[in-house]
């Protein structure tokens, strides 16, 4: 029954609980209006807009370099990939040829961002399920990556390291040694994640069979990224339409078929191993060359429509730019992975308990500014 009917129907036993917008497990300002019947959930209705800054309106008055900076504030955990999406779109519009060095460095840092985002996800998922220690272990490993970012471009999270035509700085001299050090460290620590959480029987009971998402539903709801791949739908943009240096790296696209919370969890854990393989294949042979292509100070795209999608840690981020030749684009639309993943939340959480809703939400890994834009 919709919210209105339940409110004025006398005999219904259901009552409403507001989960959010200020709530420990919504990771941001998302308000879920739960219709509860005792502990079981009959309807989940997300209310959005608490952090809506209308980035798309701002893009219509900004220059292209400034749009790249705006995407940092969308999915703040995969900043580099968001910037890369806009830069690739602008470079495609200008038909610019990008030096090989830039492509390889962009792919390495994208994979590092994916690793840091999955580490934070793992820590926060543990905290949501009650194992607070995993939060500290996740952040301890993530600290090494953010130090590398701080060394390369000066900012730890919202990096803005990409500019249309290449990179803002060249990588520092000790970049390769630091990344190798991190990989050696993390190859020892990742099995600890499994030991602490994955094989834990309490964790298994809490996640197996919870929040099933079939493959047809995943495609129809447009649930991309690790959450979609856990339902057996291989939607990895790095494989379908490789960009930057992904075509010269071989890596496995991890898909499971059960589509429950445990499958989504396992996809992300295995993806961390894959990201490390990718970095290891690229870190030793970064080609020489300049780190940015000369572009004009004021970039004017010709009158075209460009759509560029990129595989972020949460799914497919698409950038649609419709430019009419002026300094700033006529219309920019960001296809946010979070919006469609959230759309599928109701069908997964219906019938489960409140504790299941928390498990499902942490396995689809929502980042609210990415949804609200």
């Amino acid at each position: 029954m919709s919210v209105k009917e339940v409110q004025n129907s006398k005999e219904s036993q259901e009552y409403f609980v507001n989960m959010g917008p200020q709530h420990p497990s919504t990771h941001g300002v998302l308000r879920l209006l739960l219709t509860l019947d005792g502990e079981t959930i009959t309807n989940v209705e997300p209310h959005l807009g608490y952090i809506h800054r209308s980035i798309e309106k701002m893009c219509e008055r900004d220059s292209y370099q400034q749009i790249v900076h705006l995407t940092d504030r969308m999915d703040y955990l995969s900043c580099h990939m968001n910037n890369e999406a806009v830069c690739l779109a602008v470079e495609k519009g200008l038909e610019m040829e990008i030096p090989e060095r830039v492509k390889v460095i962009r792919t390495i840092i994208s994979e590092l961002t994916r690793l840091s985002s999955h580490q934070l996800w793992w820590g926060v998922m543990g905290m949501d399920l009650g194992a607070i220690t995993s939060f500290l272990y996740g952040f301890r490993d993530r600290e090494m990556i953010t130090d590398i970012f701080e060394e390369t471009c000066g900012a730890r999270l919202t990096m803005n390291y990409n500019i249309p035509g290449g990179l803002m700085f060249d990588i520092p001299s000790n970049f390769q040694t630091k990344v190798k050090e991190f990989i050696i460290h993390f190859r020892k620590k990742l099995p600890e994640y499994d030991q602490l959480m994955t094989n834990n029987i309490i964790f298994r009971n809490r996640t197996e069979g919870v929040g099933i998402l079939t493959k047809e539903d995943a495609i129809s709801y447009g649930v991309t990224g690790p959450s979609g791949r856990a339902s057996g739908w291989n939607n990895d943009i790095r494989k379908i339409k490789p960009y930057s240096a992904y075509d010269r790296v071989e890596f496995k696209e991890i898909t499971y078929t059960k589509g429950d919370s445990f499958a989504r969890y396992k996809v992300r854990i295995d993806e961390m191993w894959e990201s490390m393989n990718i970095i290891e294949q690229l870190i030793d042979n970064i080609p020489e060359g300049n780190y940015k292509e000369k572009t004009r100070v004021v970039i004017k795209l010709p009158k075209t429509e460009i759509y560029q999608s990129v595989e972020t840690a949460r799914g497919e981020l698409g950038v649609y730019i419709n430019s009419d030749g002026k300094k700033s684009p006529y219309r920019v639309k960001f296809r946010s992975p979070g919006l469609s993943n959230l759309n599928a939340l109701n069908s997964m959480a219906k019938g489960g308990k409140i504790a299941d809703l928390v498990t499902i939400m942490s396995t689809i890994d929502l980042v609210i500014p990415d949804i609200d834009r």
């Binding site: 900004d62 129809s220 379908i240 419709n322």
Partner: protein, 155 residues
């Protein structure tokens, strides 16, 4: 299927569509169609076995000076080809188009967002409300003629 086969396939459909000739080849094959028979074309594209566009990955609203547009970016997860369906809505004051929620469940939030920011009403949409802004917000922010002295900072 290559673009040319796709184009011929669509022309063979009973629905009246047109293909804009642009000097430089656009990234995806773009079909222009009027608002009335958008739903028919998209359901045909989805159910037809050789095209089988079963994944709507982006639905965008654009506001042009004299007409509105709703773009549907469709991709087939099996044949891995893409297409853009451009639905033109001529009436800018009260734009109405059919919702594709019955074909793609992801359209629910995309359409609510377009309604919220552009004011395009969608028929038989399950629950058409504003997605981000409050329900009593007047005006549609992403329209070009939207004016708001407080929030919009002209650089």
């Amino acid at each position: 299927m290559t673009r040319q086969e796709l184009q011929n396939k669509i022309l063979s459909f009973p629905i009246e569509t047109s293909f804009a000739e642009t000097e430089v080849e656009t990234q995806y094959l773009t079909t222009d169609v009027s608002a009335k028979n958008t739903h028919a074309l998209i359901s045909e594209l989805k159910n037809n076995s050789d095209t089988y566009f079963d994944y709507l990955f982006c639905q965008t609203g654009i506001d042009f000076p004299e007409h509105m547009e709703v773009l549907f970016h469709l991709r087939s997860t099996t044949h891995l080809h893409e297409i853009v369906v451009r639905a033109k809505i001529d009436d800018r004051e009260n734009p109405i188009i059919d919702s594709v929620y019955d074909l793609y469940k992801t359209a629910e939030y995309h359409e609510r967002e377009i309604f919220d920011l552009f004011g395009v009403k969608f028929n038989n949409h399950p629950d058409l409300r504003r997605l981000f802004l409050d329900d009593d917000w007047e005006g549609y922010p992403l329209r070009k003629d939207y004016v708001d002295e407080i929030n919009i900072v002209e650089l």
